[in-house]
Symmetry: C2
Subunit: 363 residues, 2 copies
């Protein structure tokens, strides 16, 4: 029996373990049965993958616990039910009721998608949350996914990432010419526009390719995950900051039919648990990244270097061009880009006198 059929049947009976009870909300009137729903959550990462894999499990457990077991969410890692890059389709078709992934994975289908995850030289986590929830971003994102019967919820953020690991120093922008770097997505497009040669290797091949000299450089994520991958054993120079992904939003996806079949209280539980996880993922990345950086610097004597100004300027110019082209290619990408730009102007002005000035003041 397909999950969707089971879900559709759930409105009728499904009495649980001897307890005759009634869920509040839409199920309540007249009914005297305890309704249990079972949702599958498919992820774009392996089960228990540090950070993102664990976050998916935490989200599923939180919903199950808060619903008192009325909505039981089981987690299925990449490749278990569907491959990593079929999470969106699986939720759209109802093969799974939930997904946990990054929106920019769906760029080939939905050009606007990266704006709802992270774009080169875009928002950091705090700005992204403000834009999504208070600046119209989430409304646009829901509109983008609606034709696919998928509802997105912001459910985490990695924070600012690292720019990557380099075998040789990067003295100035001329060194970008021909640079063979593992960097996927829009970051890769930007590097190409700036003269580099981006490659997208699967995660498990990055370290060796870097060690062998097949790559000159590679970006993965941040100290916590990069340390686990051993990237510091393959390249000596660690550059910052992560211009390519200054704060990637994790998305929780919910199938619209499954959502509409929920009583209001379970909808509120899913909403609250996703938002709670939005807070939790960032806190965990922040704490674990700083612990891992400490290990990289103290134990592994990693050489941390800031990207030279002219490198950042060259990449920034290239990013403006890549994003402008992306916006020009698709009406929703245009709307997302314009919305983000309006918000960004005010955001930069405020953060210049709050967060940014604060970091400078205490340095």
């Amino acid at each position: 029996m397909k999950r969707r059929d089971l879900l559709r049947g759930a409105g009728v009976a499904a009495v649980a373990g001897g307890v005759a009870a009634c869920a509040p909300g839409r199920d309540a009137p007249g009914a005297n049965v305890r309704i249990e729903r079972h949702w599958k959550l498919v992820t774009a990462w392996p089960t228990n993958f540090p950070g993102l894999g664990a976050a998916a499990v935490r989200l599923a457990e939180a919903i199950t616990r808060a619903s008192g077991g009325r909505l039981q969410v089981s987690v299925h890692g990449a490749g278990e039910l569907v491959p990593a890059f079929e999470v969106f389709d699986a939720v759209s078709r109802g093969v799974a009721e939930m997904g946990h992934s990054f929106a920019y994975y769906w760029q080939s289908k939905l050009p606007a998608a990266p704006f709802f995850c992270t774009v080169p030289f875009g928002f950091n986590a705090q700005e992204m949350n403000a834009w999504l929830h208070e600046g119209g971003g989430l409304v646009l994102w829901r509109e983008l996914y609606a034709p696919f019967r998928v509802m997105p919820f912001p459910a985490g953020n990695t924070g600012v990432q690292l720019a990557g690991w380099f075998r040789a120093p990067l003295p100035d922008a001329s060194a970008l010419a021909g640079l063979k770097m593992r960097i996927p997505g829009l970051g890769g497009e930007v590097l190409a526009r700036a003269g580099g040669a981006p490659l997208n290797l699967p995660a498990d091949r990055i370290r060796q390719a870097l060690a062998d000299g097949e790559l000159d450089a590679a970006e993965w994520l941040g100290p916590w995950n990069d340390l686990a991958f051993g990237l510091h054993t393959a390249a000596k120079y660690c550059y910052y900051p992560g211009w390519q992904e200054p704060g990637a939003t994790v998305e929780a996806l919910v199938n619209a039919d499954a959502w509409n079949a929920l009583p209001a209280d379970l909808q509120a539980i899913v909403t609250a648990c996703c938002r709670a996880e939005n807070d939790a993922t960032l806190a965990e990345f922040t704490a674990r990244n700083q612990s891992a950086l400490d290990v990289l610097v103290r134990e592994h004597r990693v050489e941390l270097r800031q990207l030279p100004d002219d490198v950042l300027m060259a990449l920034r110019r290239a990013a403006d061009s890549v994003l402008e082209n992306l916006a020009g290619s698709d009406p929703m990408a245009r709307r997302a880009f314009d919305s983000m730009r309006v918000f960004a102007a005010r955001s930069r002005a405020w953060h210049a006198v709050s967060e940014e000035a604060w970091y400078a003041a205490r340095a």
Copy 2:
């Protein structure tokens, strides 16, 4: 009938509006009644006060909705049930089951309390969340409140505040001598140590005292709330960044007996809704502050100025001394201060190459 009696009675019956049903969790076995709990949430701010007052209402509504009405939370603003500064005691005594306030209000009773809200030159919001949830902060905070039968939950953050409004420019640290400034709490202690004359006026008197010259300067919160108070009409110079409160954590307080009487699913709902609100409050402050700053600068031609380096250094030295004294005065304050310092060292190193470098790179 007192609320506590009502609460104690709630375990027995309380059948709601004709619906015979059963809540899951501890209440479930055998029972065939729908149990409803009514909690009072008392706040340290007026009802519907922009930002913090609205956040308390949003939290109460989220819990009520996610619980399907099994846990109905009503909000009582400052002065309605208890005065603003009696929120902690009210929750401790069970007069109210929940509270919504700032931990630093309880410093006279609990010297360690400010560490769990914000301290001069302390953490910003992202660091505070990482320390509380991943660095041991929340464990210490719960230990601090436990003897009072109160459980704290982080439930919001204001983000970096403004340093305040000044009638005359602040050219250098010598101008701190005798400066009459409305600045309460530890910020006030720091200003006093640096030679200033802090005053703590009630919020509704600040603007007039500043306009009349009774005050030379005043800090309140950030652009959103300061604009609403009209502080820009009383002083021309707006200084940043808010060294005195670089990211104040809002606390949700829960009476321990009320908490223990909850079934596990309702405990999970309260936990998730507080954490969701932790995310929501910061996003709202971020978005509204930047909109308000735009109005202050464009429409009201406010003169924004960064605090001179030597002013910040003088205040920083004074803060070190004030915090060291505070830690020396009380064992729990010592533990909180030490825990924060260990975490801060790694946090500064990581944020220097992530958030801080990011702001610099995109400037």
